[in-house]
Symmetry: C2
Subunit: 206 residues, 2 copies
DNA sequence: TATATATCGGTATATTTTTATCGATATAAA
DNA sequence: TTTATATCGATAAAAATATACCGATATATA
């Protein structure tokens, strides 16, 4: 069964919630999950039904089974090689952040045009000159690119990534990127988040 | 007219596109914007109609007028005081990032439990001990809190923020936070983004 | 064993969001 | 001036998403 994007977005929350349950909890109901995550119980049941057909009346779902199914659907068991372009504050923070491994994302290195940034980080990862990018990606068979450059450079980097065999781009630059239809561009839309927060505050008369 | 969340999410893209146009472009059509941002022209027209009634047939919209209206609706002209809790890599990156000012977000300082983190950053902003949090917020009348702690600490910080008068929370910890209904919690759902990317790569047989 | 109950899963309905269609209109060109 | 065209804005349709309802069922309790 295909999983819609809306559903997909909620799955990580389910997984996280299930993982932090005490280990003696063997079964859990959609109702309980829904209450904890401020969602409707029917919605949760429908979501879980998309990825795992194994719910039992009165009992609920097997926690272990759900976790397995969620991790499979979410691809956390995959190993995705990634590189970062833009070794500014955010880029470096991501390069050094070990937490992405949990999601199957292995960040190999970062790249930057600024020669002052080239070198090795505290945690032992490398920042290479951008000129090495294409060769590095084809040799390491990198499929995922993270863009943490300023907006003005992002489209150019996006093009470079496409040329270098990258198939999915995680974009943190506040700009709309254009690429072929076979390339997935996921925008981390911080400006939109901020706008929602700001609007909420304004509404309250702050 | 009220602006739905879906619409709100697209507005920053419109604004950014309009701002980077050459200054001699006085008018622009929804069709043109749509083509540039890979959206439907009717959708763009409907969105713009939510925030600005001033489109003329054949001519389009006044660029200047649209920018004004967008900035007003998005609240970029507001001044929102914010603080960060969690002075790790991401927290520090955000603390030092000047780009948020453009969106009306003024980050005053960061807080952390770790006494080794306390001090002043390169750009002159302070990292205070968490024990000072509540007093700082009430004195400075801070309304927006950014959470960049590990997941295990996030709910506790969320509670602290609510007690301290904060009305909107920008949460980067990968966990669902619970707060009163008058508090807006905006989750920056990186895990969900990653899952979508990973699923796309898996689908392509990588 | 018989009954009660919480929960699932399917169907139906409601809501939200997006896309399509069409007449009206301002500008440009003939 | 007349005609052609690009665009708007309104209405309608379609698609996606979320919610409500209800019978079936596995477990618990009397």
């Amino acid at each position: 069964m295909s999983v819609s994007i809306s559903v997909m977005r909620r799955l990580p929350a389910y997984l996280h919630y299930l993982k932090q349950l005490p280990p003696d909890v063997e079964n859990i109901s959609a109702t309980t999950i829904a209450a904890q995550l401020d969602l409707g119980d029917v919605l949760v049941r429908k979501d879980l039904n998309c990825i795992s057909g194994a719910g039992k009346p009165r009992t609920g779902y097997s926690v272990k089974g759900l976790i397995d199914d969620l991790e499979r659907v979410l691809g956390y068991k995959n190993k995705n090689l990634a590189v970062i372009v833009g070794a500014g504050k955010l880029g470096c923070a991501m390069l050094e952040h070990s937490g992405f491994e949990e999601y199957g994302l292995h960040i190999l290195a970062a790249f930057d045009v600024d020669s002052n940034k080239i070198g090795i980080t505290d945690s032992g990862k490398y920042i290479y000159p951008l000129s090495d990018f294409e060769e590095f990606c084809s040799q390491a068979d990198v499929r995922l690119g993270v863009i943490t450059t300023p907006a003005c450079a992002a489209q150019e980097i996006c093009d470079l990534m496409c040329r270098s065999g990258i198939r999915a781009i995680w974009n943190f630059a506040p700009i709309h990127l254009t690429a072929g239809k076979d390339i997935l561009i996921q925008n981390e839309n911080m400006a939109a988040s901020l706008a929602l927060l700001s609007a909420h505050l304004a509404e309250m008369g702050c």
